[in-house]
């Protein structure tokens, strides 16, 4: 009964993984032929400014989206938890971006961010070229990303909040604790396991950001290198430039980076995640 799955996984995933690893040490000569060139792709990659810029852009994107996104999601979840009446309607709205294809979502935001006629500049009274100015390009993508994912994170956190026994709060307020104190002594520790899994998931997804940037930065965008992520660079190297060996090296690097970040988080969780009180 496991045969179809295992055969599929070996053919579709395990073997391709080995191939990608091997291809990262090879030069692609066209038509799927590879020549072994040792570490050359990695040497090229580490000596390439565009690559380091993409690595930084990816990390910068995570810094912009993950803490703010999760804090907002927690805030929304707490509000929804307190006002049960509106839960249904709000949940519907907050979840909506998730079911929309990122390609369509990005298209709408391109219009909102438009430098000349975009509604955002008109509301703010600014003339910022959000998507084509190197200074704001990553920020613009980050805003879209937080907007699309915050509802999903909030729903997960809401489930965590609802598992907190009401009696804890009651006992606490009899003891004379304020709302803010309650948040730090009860809510945060109790919801920390959910918070941790949301954090890991969001970090992994942010490190792989591709589709929003692809839609918002085409080849003619002057800020392209200032906003391209590792996965976008991977796509352009492998499938636009056709350099699949180099592309493989980039994807291996990205996976290594994700692995390191995840391991650090799993180490760090011991300090702040409480699994029982």
């Amino acid at each position: 009964m496991v045969a179809p799955t295992i055969i599929g996984l070996v053919v579709l995933n395990l073997w391709p993984f080995v191939q990608t690893l091997y291809a990262s040490f090879c030069e692609h000569e066209g038509f799927g032929h590879y020549k072994f060139i040792g570490l050359q792709n990695y040497v090229d990659m580490f000596g390439n400014a565009e690559f380091w810029k993409a690595t930084w852009n990816t990390i910068y994107f995570c810094i912009l989206t993950v803490p703010v996104g999760i804090a907002l999601a927690l805030l929304i979840a707490m509000l929804l938890n307190a006002h049960v009446k509106f839960k249904g309607g709000f949940r519907t709205i907050f979840f909506l971006p998730l079911v929309c294809a990122p390609a369509a979502v990005a298209m709408v935001w391109r219009w909102i961010f438009n430098g000349e006629y975009g509604i955002l500049n008109q509301i703010l009274g600014t003339k910022i070229q959000w998507i084509t100015d190197p200074k704001t390009a990553v920020l613009a993508v980050a805003i879209v990303s937080v907007w699309s994912s915050v509802g999903y994170d909030a729903v997960l956190l809401l489930a965590g909040l609802q598992n907190i026994p009401k009696s804890l709060y009651e006992a606490n307020s009899i003891d004379g604790a304020g709302k803010i104190q309650q948040f730090f002594t009860i809510t945060l520790p109790m919801v920390s396991p959910t918070l941790f899994s949301v954090l890991i998931m969001r970090l992994m997804a942010s490190m792989k950001i591709y589709d929003l940037i692809y839609m918002m930065a085409d080849e003619t965008n002057p800020a392209l290198t200032d906003m391209q992520s590792l996965m976008y660079l991977f796509y352009r190297s492998s499938f636009v430039a056709g350099d699949r060996g180099y592309g493989s090296a980039i994807v291996i690097w990205t996976v290594g980076l994700i692995l390191i970040v995840t391991l650090v988080q799993f180490q760090g969780q011991k300090k702040w995640v409480t699994y029982d009180i």
Partner: protein, 252 residues
Amino acid sequence: MIFPFVWMILTSSKTVPESMLIPPTILPKQLMLDNFKEAIASLPFANLYINTILMVFFRVVCAVLFSSMAGYAFAKLEFRGKKLLFGIVLIQMSLPSQIFIIPQYQMVAKMGMANTIFALVFPGLVSAFGVFFLRQAYMSIPDEVGEAAYLDGCNQWQTFYKIMFPLTGTSVAALTIFTAVFAYGDLMWPLVVNSDLKMMTLSSGLSTLRGQFTTNFPVLMAGSLLAMLPMVVLYLIFQRQFVEGIAGTGGK
């Protein structure tokens, strides 16, 4: 939160000069369908809908069918190499899908299957996540249920598809929604594997409009609206299942 959607709908009915007015008009002067006509004229929407529906359908069927079988086996049966095989599932789950893309693309190209529905479905033929997720569903069913079926004369297969599988309904629904939403939004794989406009999905097809209408935002908004419509309509009908399904798959 909802503003971008509202703005998209309003813009999709404006003329180009009207969309560029400063200060902007909120409501369009007229209900105009020309933008939709132009969007449909520049993208083969009928093909895109069919391709997307077929891709989503086959990916869901494969994920549910194979993951149910494997999830059941991993949860309820004893066989040799179980731990090692489950290890393979876990490895695939923890690796980002991009790491498989180049070799997967080469396989599809070698089979001469680029620009087909099969190519779109290919990476979704099996789902490690689905196996993991449904294994948990089967583990939560008490062993006594299977034993009772066995005493009633069911063999292993009958126990599975007559007794056990129907008990995992909510989990299967959750996996279906999760798989469908993910496949629908996926962009990199369809772009890589199907370059023929007629064989693209709604996502990848829409992305080709970027270059074509750089300043004609009303048409771009009309196109985006058409591209997101099917899933939004399904979502509005099956809201509760969507929220619970996606939240359920992520929370584990």
